[in-house]
């Protein structure tokens, strides 16, 4: 069971998740400090460790639209948040799969801040509201990368097979 700590609307762009002015910072170990940097409330809670790992962010449609910057994924991954969105922009979703950020596509999701959520293989269960929503599992092509522990491992395996 995990708690919803923040709720966003539609079309949250990578400029909101990780503003362009911090793009010179690239290493996944260094990006978490700038997560949602222009949202002082959320950023300071994250940076000060006031948000538990595994907590949930709820979003509307097209989360992660905009630039291909991978920092937008590593910055959230650094705080081990789970994103449940109505749907995700393509590059953001692929980057999440590659880096192991937990993204859940759940078109009908309804949840408010502080709701308690359980995620199963096929459903998102909102315990607080007593409601269940179907999630759309990753297609096998993406799941294979997740199962390998991310694209670095997956590619390393392929590389070794080639030799």
């Amino acid at each position: 069971m995990a708690k919803v700590v923040y709720k966003f609307g539609d079309d949250i762009s990578t400029d909101i998740i990780y503003p362009g002015r911090f793009m010179a910072t690239v290493l996944p170990t260094e990006t978490p400090q700038y997560a949602f940097a222009d949202n002082q409330d959320l950023n300071s809670k994250l940076v000060n460790g006031q948000i538990e790992k595994g907590s949930i962010i709820i979003a509307g449609k097209n989360f992660g639209c905009g630039s291909s910057r991978e920092q937008a994924v590593s910055t959230i991954k650094g705080h081990e948040l789970v994103i449940i969105a109505k749907n995700f922009a393509r590059i953001f979703l692929q980057n999440s799969v590659n880096l192991g950020l937990n993204t859940i596509t759940c078109p009908d999701i309804e949840a408010e801040i502080n709701d308690e959520i359980v995620i199963t293989e096929t459903k998102v269960i909102n315990k607080t509201q007593g409601r269940e929503f179907d999630l759309i599992p990753h297609p096998p092509a993406r799941q294979a990368i997740i199962d390998a522990g991310g694209l670095i491992n997956y590619t390393r395996k392929k590389l070794m097979e080639k030799i």
């Binding site: 079309d11 762009s13 400029d15 909101i16 503003p19 362009g20 002015r21 793009m23 010179a24 910072t25 690239v26 290493l27 222009d38 449609k61 097209n62 639209c65 905009g66 630039s67 291909s68 910057r69 991978e70 920092q71 994924v73 749907n87 922009a89 393509r90 590059i91 692929q94 980057n95 590659n98 880096l99 297609p139 096998p140 092509a141 993406r142 294979a144 990368i145 991310g150 694209l151 670095i152 997956y154 590619t155 390393r156 392929k158 590389l159 070794m160 080639k162 030799i163």
Partner: protein
């Protein structure tokens, strides 16, 4: 210019035989160049299906198939610093020496923060430069007037992209190169590290295609930018998510490669994986004359019976100038609904609208006029080459005399990192492709997007102005 195009519908062997015949010597007096096009037996394939089938060595692919296509060109910019990091990670513990699969197929172009705005960026750039030397990467464009530019301009003008190529780039606007008939899309840094290692993209799902047919002719001061803004407004920011947009129709056939780059560039703003224009005479002329490509060019086209998820028809003759309003690109309005809004800054440039024809139309509008005293106008040509051409043509002088500031080629104010940031509460009108909150360096500002003609007319007036109303 006469060009003879021979289309074959035989199998691949026959095509190869045909290619061996020296048609040029038979027809050389009548035709400038002869191209032989291989059309597979029609199998209901879209252009991207054909490209992916070729790249994955398959006779055909269906939407939803998972393939591992070979990559023809892999592009990065400053974020190559992160790609290098992830690339070295892949090799960790393997005992192998990290070596990119084919150094000639990797392009690295410094554009996002040039010249470096901070010691951090400069150090990243240095790291990339060292890697480029170590790995013998040849398509490297450093901070030099004779080779620099925005990646999405450098690739086409240098002849790095060809029809039928699979192109990936660590930049979302890699969709641009569909303008030359390539399947070209944005990926993240880790995925690029994987491409550098294997030369293929793992687990690509064949996307469905939306066909957009644009007929009619553009009216004066209505530009390809207005078409793509209109389309994004119709589709919404996620309307083409995970899909390809294939452009057809007479207005596309009559469009220059520059205009096609503008429309393909912005398809990602509707969520598209890629935009693509089936290559034609214009593509060939651009590749030969502008990009200086000398070797053989193969044209690839969709089958007449290709299957599309949906077809959208647009009449270019009915289009008026369009404006994307804050803070989403799909918040598109016709100019009459927003004209009069006061602006503080006008930005002309970017991979969307920083080419010679964009500078030309703005220069023509601004020649012998003055930019409003409350407006700063920043002009950043898309490449060093365009900068030089615009200098020679006198456009930059005209723009400067009107009051514009010419910034060096590169991304500049587009992403608000180190040039042209906005003050609190300020409003910009920009020919770039994104207006997300904070895009121009300040979350407390607003960005409107328009064509170069609207930008120039508005710079004179000091507020958003329809260029068709200029006297």
């Amino acid at each position: 210019m006469n060009i003879l195009i021979i289309k074959t519908h035989f199998d691949y062997k026959a095509f190869n035989l045909l290619k061996k015949i020296d048609f040029n010597s038979y027809f050389c007096e009548k035709y400038l160049k002869i191209f032989i096009i291989y059309n597979r037996k029609t199998m209901g394939q879209t252009i991207v299906q054909k490209i992916l089938a070729n790249a994955a060595n398959l006779p055909a692919v269906k939407v939803g198939d998972v393939v591992e296509p070979k990559v023809n060109l892999a592009m990065s910019h400053e974020n190559a610093a992160l790609v290098i990091n992830q690339f070295l990670e892949i090799y960790k513990g393997t005992g192998l020496e990290p070596k990119v699969w084919e150094p000639g197929k990797i392009a690295i172009i410094f554009d996002h923060r040039v010249p470096a705005e901070s010691s951090k960026t400069a150090t990243n750039q240095k790291k990339v430069r060292n890697f480029v030397t170590e790995q013998n990467i040849t398509k490297f464009h450093d901070i030099r007037g004779d080779e620099m530019g925005i990646c999405h301009q450098i690739l086409p003008e240098s002849g790095y992209v060809r029809p039928g190529y699979v192109v990936v780039g660590t930049d979302s606007h890699t969709t641009s190169h569909g303008a030359l008939g390539a399947f070209s899309f944005g990926i993240g840094a880790t995925e690029m590290a994987s491409v550098w290692t294997l030369g293929t993209i793992l687990n690509v799902q064949v996307p469905p295609t939306i066909k957009v047919v644009v007929n009619g002719t553009f009216n004066q001061f209505v530009l390809p930018k207005d078409l793509i803004l209109y389309l994004i407004g119709q589709l919404t920011a996620e309307g083409a998510n995970f899909r390809v947009i294939e452009f057809h129709g007479e207005a596309i056939r009559n469009m220059t490669t520059s205009g096609r780059l503008t429309i393909c560039n912005m398809t990602v703003e509707a969520g598209a994986t890629s935009g693509i224009v089936p290559p034609d005479d214009e593509t060939l002329i651009y590749l030969r004359n502008t990009a200086g490509v000398k070797d053989e060019i193969e044209l690839i086209n969709p089958d007449p019976d290709a299957e599309y998820e949906k077809i959208i028809e647009i009449n270019a003759s009915e289009l008026v100038p369009q404006i994307a309003c804050p803070h989403t690109v799909d918040n598109v309005k016709s100019i009459r609904d927003v004209s009069g809004i006061k602006i503080n800054q006008v930005v002309l440039g970017s991979c969307t609208n920083g080419r010679l024809d964009d500078l030309e139309i703005a220069a023509k509008i601004l020649k012998n006029k003055k930019i409003d005293k409350n407006v700063r106008m920043l002009v950043f040509p898309a490449s060093g080459r365009i900068y030089k051409e615009a200098l020679k043509a006198g456009y930059l002088i005209d723009l400067m005399e009107a009051g514009a500031v010419i910034v060096n080629p590169g991304c500049g104010p587009c992403l608000g990192i180190h040039q042209g940031a906005l003050g609190d509460g300020e409003i910009a009108l920009s020919t770039t492709n994104r207006n997300f909150k904070g895009r121009m360096g300040n979350p407390n500002s607003e960005v409107y997007l328009s064509s170069p003609a609207v930008a120039a007319a508005s710079a004179i007036a000091g507020f958003i102005t329809d260029p068709r109303e200029l006297n």
